[in-house]
């Protein structure tokens, strides 16, 4: 991927600047669904501590492959709990640094107001051409969306209408441009200040899928970086928690 | 010639720095040479006749048929005009064999005489080349095929744009006889662009002199070439063309006598039999004038002639004198000093000494 160039370069810059003062930069890999809250948290983090968090957003599976191949991330905010655990067991993360920073909520969302009812009956009616999800093979929200459809016994009926985004952001993109009438995204993507920002949505009940626990971990590369530890502590703090909850995550 | 037999052409095309503006009648038979220096508009005239110059404004009537009339918005596209066009470079289709090149036009003409192709192949001596691809032909062979390809469509008008210009002397001499046979055997009008006086003298019946996009003179070849009022550009090469008949061969001195209206000339032995028509050209610079029939000179050819008119030549030191030798026009280029010394004036009877003749065969 072309984007690999800039984190690498930033990593070099980081190495250079970290030796200068006690404020430092920290490279963070962030699950796509957590984009908006993390940008806010990083801004507050910099204001409060002077450390700068350099954020890269993407699919959790892709980050896993990049970390295994030497990407210079110090902290990883995954979209699931499995990936950080795997990294820890494989020696790529600092043991005991794992924690759940957010519990994601799956939402069936449409950019059109009134299209999605608050019972999700729109799924059974099937009056749509395309339903967008994130790639279930690589994105936890995609996998959970498939579980929802399976439990509703609608998977076979809807399968031909499924369009798959590379990650949850692309699924959102398909829906927001109207190319897909509706789709499963993270509540955090369509919620702002505790309200639905646009369109219509059905918050999928917790019994239809497993809770999407999103775990964070300090990676081996961040072991000796004070800024990495500082960021993790900051995310656990009150201010960050409030931000996270305002985007519809449970904690 | 009746009006319906002729070609009436009026064209105007402009480019930055060049305006082409002509209005002329071309005869509906024989070879008309379009003569002039490069940039004079010869090729443009030919392209206008063919309809390849779509920006030309004007009118063209070919033997009563309207091919172009810009005022009425009429323009018959090239592919609907019954003409043959031979370009300066042979322009054979590289992806087709000689035979396929010849067939290309012929197949697209419903009224093509089946004999045309056969005749053209024979006329141009390309029967042995039919299976070859163009890349395996010499320059002369290519040009012969291109001419045959144009003839195979049984055109009503043949346009040739310096078909020999791209060839060396040897190739030229290889093709010229074929062109002469065309002249003798075809009865369609031919417009032949050239800047070679020899080619023109050899092939043309009529001539159109062009200079800077305008017609300077037009008419029969002999009458036009004998005119003295042509621009300087043409007088450097002034001279006349004379049609003669082989009259006698002198076996002892290896000479041949050529008769023409108003006299005869003797030239080195020619291979042509007695009675054969032969054209020759006499340059103005090769004629000198004497008041009396000179004796004690090595020059054999002396003709009595009457002075018709006198005109300026290409240098201030010279003048051109037009004479009439018993019905045959002659032009002599002499110094202004000789003019005064001999008191040459219209009506005066003189002897023209011909130093050399250029035989065109």
């Amino acid at each position: 991927m072309k984007t690999q160039g800039s984190p690498l370069l930033a990593g070099l810059l980081f190495a250079a600047t970290s030796m200068v003062g006690h404020t430092a930069e920290v490279q963070v890999a962030v699950a796509a669904n957590f984009t908006a809250p993390m940008q806010k948290i990083a801004a507050e983090f910099e204001k409060d501590t002077g450390h700068k968090a350099l954020l890269a957003f993407g699919a959790t599976g892709k980050f896993y492959a990049q970390i295994k191949n030497g990407a210079p991330f110090a902290v990883f905010l995954a979209a699931d709990e499995k990936t950080p655990a795997t990294l820890e067991s494989e020696g790529d993360a600092v043991p005991g640094s794992r924690f759940t920073y957010a519990i994601g909520t799956l939402v069936l969302w449409s950019a059109k107001p009134g299209f999605v009812d608050d019972q999700g009956a729109v799924l059974k009616k099937g009056e749509f051409q395309h339903l967008a999800i994130a790639n279930p093979k690589t994105a936890p929200y995609g996998a959970e969306a498939i579980k929802v459809l399976t439990r509703l016994s609608l998977l076979d009926a809807i399968q031909p209408k499924l369009v798959t985004g590379e990650n949850i952001s692309q699924a959102y993109q398909f829906i927001v441009t109207g190319n897909a009438e509706l789709g499963f995204v993270a509540l955090s993507q369509v919620m702002f200040d505790g309200k639905l920002s646009s369109g219509s949505a059905w918050i999928v009940p917790a019994d239809l899928h497993d809770p999407i626990r999103q775990d964070a971990v300090i990676l081996a590369k961040g072991k000796d970086q004070p800024a990495a530890k500082a960021l993790v502590e900051y995310i656990k703090g009150k201010k960050a928690t409030a931000i996270i909850q305002s985007y519809g995550y449970n904690l | 010639m009746t009006a319906d037999e002729a070609i009436h052409a009026r064209f105007c095309v402009s480019w930055p720095g060049f305006t082409f503006d002509v209005d002329l009648d071309l005869p509906g038979h024989g070879v008309t040479a379009l003569f002039g220096h490069s940039g004079s508009g010869k090729t443009t005239l030919l392209r206008c006749l063919a309809g390849l110059e779509r920006r030309s404004i004007g009118s063209l009537r070919f033997k009563g048929e309207v091919w172009q009339d810009s005022e009425r918005g009429l323009f018959r596209p090239t592919h609907q005009r019954p003409l043959g066009y031979v370009f300066q470079e042979a322009s054979l289709f590289a992806h087709l064999s000689v035979q396929q090149n010849l067939d290309y036009g012929r197949k697209r003409v419903s009224h093509a005489h089946p004999v045309s192709l056969q005749h053209a192949v024979e006329l141009l001596g390309i029967g042995h080349l039919l299976d070859r691809m163009p890349e395996r032909l010499s320059g002369g062979e290519r040009q012969r095929v291109a001419i045959a390809r144009a003839l195979a469509t049984s055109p009503a008008l043949l346009l040739m744009d310096e078909p020999l210009a791209a060839l060396d002397l040897k190739r030229k001499n290889e093709i010229l006889p074929y062109l002469e046979r065309l002249h003798d055997e075809l009865d369609i009008p031919v417009c032949y662009v050239s800047h070679s006086p020899d080619e023109v003298a050899r092939l043309a019946d009529h001539i159109v002199l062009l200079s800077e996009g305008r017609v300077v003179a037009a008419g029969g070849l002999r009458e036009t070439l004998a005119r003295l009022d042509l621009p300087t550009a043409f007088t450097e090469d002034a001279g006349v063309v004379i049609e003669s008949v082989v009259a006698d061969h002198d076996q002892i001195y290896h000479l041949t006598r050529l008769d023409f209206a108003g006299g005869n000339v003797v030239v080195a032995r020619r291979p042509e039999p007695v009675g054969r028509r032969l054209r020759f050209r006499v340059h103005a610079r090769d004629i000198s004038l004497t008041l009396t029939r000179a004796e004690g000179t090595s020059i054999i050819n002396r003709l009595p002639a009457t002075v018709i008119e006198i005109a300026t030549a290409d240098t201030p030191a010279h003048v051109l004198v037009r004479l009439d030798a018993g019905g045959t026009p002659l032009i002599a280029r002499i110094t202004r000093r000789s003019l005064d010394h001999l008191e040459v004036a219209p009506g005066k009877l003189l002897w023209a000494q011909i130093k050399a003749v250029a035989l065109l065969a």
């Binding site: 699919a59 599976g61 892709k62 896993y64 492959a65 051409q129 395309h130 967008a132 790639n135 093979k137 690589t138 499924l162 369009v163 798959t164 985004g165 590379e166 692309q170 993109q173 398909f174 441009t177 109207g178 190319n179 897909a180 | 063919a50 309809g51 390849l52 596209p77 090239t78 592919h79 609907q80 003409l83 043959g84 066009y85 370009f87 322009s91 289709f93 590289a94 992806h95 290309y104 036009g105 697209r108 003409v109 390809r149 144009a150 469509t153 346009l159």
Partner: protein, 224 residues
């Protein structure tokens, strides 16, 4: 070695490249012909527009396609009005996107071939009674054959190698929009490296052979 899903992706890719190449030859030929012959002041403008996909990142093309072909975009409105629905997530949509994306790879070799031929053969054909259409097919097309072959090879290969645009408007639907390049990406993302290797290696070999064929055609006209 190759799973049914992989085989489906390969088959789809070949189908997409074939259809796209055919359409590009039909659409690209008149564009290239016009560009080669025109003195219009729009020549530079159209030439630059055609060349745009050479320099634009696929993400830009994909993004704008997603919007214009979508239900609120001008093309999307048109296709819906015609009763065709919208083009993203369909094979037809991929064909449209690929045609746009590979357009310069077809137009430019054709334009060069036409320019090399020049107007003379057409003039000759006209004096031999061939109408413009007639002479185009009997003279220009045969003479420009090497250009057509190069254009077809490049258009085909470039479509096979396309990834970004397909990713952005395809929706990754098996047998409809999941082409080989996307399939490889999926395998890599899912850490299925063995499967990724098989497909990626095949792609590498294919691309190399295509270029080999192309360069050996060109190599025949050497200086020495």
């Amino acid at each position: 070695m190759l799973s049914a899903v992989d085989l489906a992706a390969i088959w789809l890719t070949l189908k997409l490249a074939t259809v796209t190449t055919a359409i590009l030859l039909i659409v690209g030929t008149p564009i290239a012909w016009w560009l080669a012959g025109t003195r219009s002041r729009f020549k530079v403008l159209i030439g630059a527009l055609v060349a745009l996909p050479l320099v634009l990142p696929p993400s830009v093309i994909g993004f704008y396609l997603l919007i214009t072909l979508g239900p609120h975009g001008p093309v999307g409105q048109l296709t819906q009005w015609l009763g065709w629905g919208i083009l993203p997530f369909t094979f037809a949509g991929l064909v449209v996107a690929s045609a746009l994306y590979s357009l310069p790879f077809v137009v430019q070799p054709l334009q060069q071939a036409f320019e090399a031929i020049g107007p003379r053969p057409l003039e000759v054909a006209a004096t031999l009674r061939a109408s413009p259409w007639d002479s185009f097919f009997t003279v220009v097309v045969p003479l420009a054959k090497p250009g057509f072959i190069t254009a077809a090879i490049l258009g085909f290969a470039h479509t096979v190698g396309e990834f970004g645009v397909v990713l952005m408007i395809g929706g990754n639907i098996p047998e409809k929009t999941r082409v080989v390049s996307v399939q490889i990406y999926d395998h890599v993302e899912a850490l299925e490296y063995a499967e990724a290797h098989t497909l990626a290696g095949g792609m590498l070999l294919f691309s190399f052979l295509v270029l080999l064929a192309l360069y050996s055609r060109k190599g025949r006209n050497a200086w020495t």
